[in-house]
């Protein structure tokens, strides 16, 4: 958790990057993770592949299928995390995915696995606050951050419910929709970030539909973090096992835009 709270610099927004574990293969994922760090990512979200990623758009759906078709198991995802932690002792790593693969062996099992493989936090797409006891308690008692999502449908009445027991950072899903398709208007992002920040001391990161360095810079001016996922996953799709250099260069272009945004 300390790794995570230290990852948000005071003078600029953090760059938070997502890839799907096991895409294009279990063997190739470590190098792509290294490319993210090398390019300047501050926080890594490692996607746990799932057969039914109902909150994801076409790019991440396809990545899930490529990974599972290649035979990725939960044990492989955890091994990838463990290897990452050994190579990058200071870079926070978050597992992101769906409830069923996370809870199938029990919440305690998963929380233990997070601890022993160097995972700092968890984002579970389909466990809202109302079902928090099916995973959140076990994670928190093991000091794994439970990162909550706020969305354009989160009104003032609901926000305190989401913030109760939230940790790490608050992830603002800027579009009511699925991953990777369109970006929200800058004005609505600014309004939402200001509203969220008035309700919490947690850093607020913004994601969904962020693709270009310019878009990242715009968000970096108002938010504490910028999340980029589908655009990276599309590079992995295009370059496969040769994705290291293109991913590193793309991340570097985002990092540099974010660094000079404020």
């Amino acid at each position: 958790m300390t790794r995570l709270s230290n990852a948000f610099p005071a003078d600029r927004a953090a760059l938070i990057t997502f890839i799907t574990a096991g895409d294009p293969s279990v063997e190739d994922t470590p190098a792509i993770l290294d490319a993210l760090v090398e390019g300047g990512a501050d926080i890594i979200e490692l996607g746990m592949p799932f057969t039914d990623p109902m909150a994801d758009g076409p790019a991440i759906q396809a990545a899930n299928i490529r990974s599972l078709t290649g035979g990725t198991k939960t044990a492989d995802v955890l091994n990838i995390a463990k290897g990452f932690r050994a190579r990058h002792p200071n870079v926070p790593l978050i597992l992101m995915g769906y409830a069923n693969p996370m809870t199938i062996r029990g919440a305690d099992w998963f929380a233990d696995a997070c601890v022993s493989n160097g995972v700092d936090g968890v984002i579970c797409v389909d466990i809202p606050v109302e079902e928090d006891d099916s995973l959140g308690d076990a994670l928190r008692s093991n000091e794994i951050a439970v990162v909550r999502l706020a969305t354009p449908t989160t009104d003032a009445a609901r926000l305190p419910t989401i913030l109760n027991n939230a940790s790490g950072f608050l992830y603002y899903v800027s579009v009511a929709g699925i991953t990777g398709l369109q970006q929200a208007a800058q004005a609505s992002i600014e309004e939402a970030v200001n509203r969220l920040k008035s309700g919490t001391d947690l850093p607020v990161a913004v994601g969904f539909g962020v693709r270009t360095p310019d878009q990242a810079a715009d968000i970096a001016r108002v938010a504490d973090g910028v999340v980029v996922g589908s655009a990276i996953v599309e590079l992995v799709e295009k370059y496969g096992k040769d994705a290291y250099a293109p991913v590193r260069d793309y991340i570097a272009s985002l990092a540099s835009a974010i660094a000079s945004a404020r």
Partner: protein, 410 residues
């Protein structure tokens, strides 16, 4: 003395849980909408106007009450091979005679009334066999709302007549290629549509599954089946049946029949899942061959591997071809109140033909699974016992599938 605590009818709890099952496992974007839907449903439950509208449409548009029918031909046929004195009387609740040919319309009427109450102007739905798609397209045409139906590409192939029906009714059918191109993928895609169109869209879920309050409200709308059947039985022969039998995919026709009888202790209940090619091969029997997990908004029994990846289901019946089941059935299984069994593709095909020959009724492949189980149970029961099965759909839509399975060209 504590009747309420001992009742099997007091589920779910205020969080939408049926024991450990059910719940609201959805993306945060959908949570405010789900909470809103629950609020609106509670208001509708207390609104006599809503009930009056629902009842009027069921009577005059759907054609309810559906008949309760003593299947003498089938009863006598089964007695021929039964041991001496065995061969229970078989009765059918004839929900295949509803407008659109299946029980699905009961739920669609209820949900579209809710949608209009909430001011929603766009309807989406998923469909497997196409029966729920047709029923949804029907109510959308009736009330003039645009209708988008997600249907797996594999299901479109095997349910061409229903595909065309939906188009005639003015619905746009969106083929789903992702995953295995069946019901679960159609549901994923409908959820993706919903999350992107929360402001104006109502999702009419076709079975008693999904996030709370769907399992509860679909059950309540479908309970008209069991309420009618119970009253009809008492009226006709002044007694309750000894056993209820219904096929189960997601489980809406079964829960609709069972629920009003749950506290009738002497009424045994049997839910019949699709065993496909056999429980040791590809099948769709979540309760017999799966274990608890989380998918599509609820915790329930699922076909899945040790990592929680969802397995592909298989059944000759597109309507049963789903790797999950409504959460109340998972709870009824664990509580022991309902027994669950399964029937293979081959057994269902035999039962399909048996009913055609003995009763002059062409059943859908879904209730053919129930009929196969009825045949299996009836010969073990005394002749004065009564089995009531839900004939939840008619088989016109399935004749091409059946012809192909029987090696006949039409």
């Amino acid at each position: 003395m504590n009747d309420q605590a001992n009742s099997f009818k007091n589920q779910p709890d205020e969080r939408g849980h049926f024991g450990q099952f059910g719940g609201r496992y959805v993306a945060e974007t959908l949570m405010p909408l789900i909470l809103d839907l629950e609020k609106e449903y509670r208001a509708a439950q207390n609104d006599p106007e809503f009930a009056a509208q629902f009842d009027d449409l069921l009577t005059n548009y759907v054609g309810r009450p559906s008949p309760l029918y003593y299947a003498q031909g089938l009863t006598e046929e089964l007695r021929k091979t039964a041991p001496e004195g065995k061969g229970a009387q078989i009765w059918f609740k004839r929900d295949e005679l509803n407008h659109t040919g299946a029980h699905k319309i009961n739920n669609c009427i209820g949900q579209i009334l809710l949608a209009m109450r909430m001011g929603k102007t766009r309807i989406i739905a998923e469909t497997g066999a196409g029966q729920h798609g047709v029923a949804t397209a029907t109510v959308c045409a009736r009330f003039g709302l645009p209708c988008y139906i997600y249907m797996g590409s594999k299901d479109i192939e095997r349910q061409a007549p229903n595909m065309f029906r939906m188009k005639l009714l003015g619905a746009q059918v969106i083929p789903v290629e992702s995953g295995t191109g069946t019901l679960k993928d159609a549901m994923n895609e409908a959820l993706r549509d919903w999350v992107a169109n929360v402001d104006d869209t109502f999702y009419i879920i076709g079975t008693a599954a999904g996030p709370h309050p769907y399992p509860e409200l679909v059950r309540d709308f479908q309970s008209v089946i069991g309420k009618e059947a119970r009253a009809q039985m008492l009226d006709r022969i002044n007694r309750l049946p000894d056993m209820l039998v219904a096929a189960i995919g997601g489980g809406s026709n079964a829960i609709g029949l069972f629920h009003p009888f749950l506290d009738d202790k002497d009424v045994e209940m049997l839910g019949v899942e699709a065993a496909g090619h056999g429980l040791d091969k590809e099948h769709a029997a979540s309760l017999s061959g799966g274990k608890p997990g989380i998918l599509h908004g609820n915790k329930t029994y699922l076909l899945q591997d040790e990592d929680g990846q969802i397995d592909e289901a298989h059944s000759i019946s597109a309507g049963l071809d789903y790797p999950g089941i409504g959460p109340e059935h998972s709870w009824l299984k664990e509580s022991g109140r309902v027994r669950y069994d399964s029937v293979t593709d081959t057994e269902a095909l035999d039962a399909f033909q048996l009913l055609c020959r003995t009763e002059g009724i062409i059943p859908a492949l879904e209730p053919s699974h129930a009929i196969a189980a009825v045949a299996r149970e009836a010969v073990k029961m005394d002749q004065d016992k009564i089995i009531l099965a839900n004939l939840c759909g008619r088989g016109d839509k399935d004749i091409f599938t059946v012809a192909e399975a029987l090696g006949t060209e039409i």
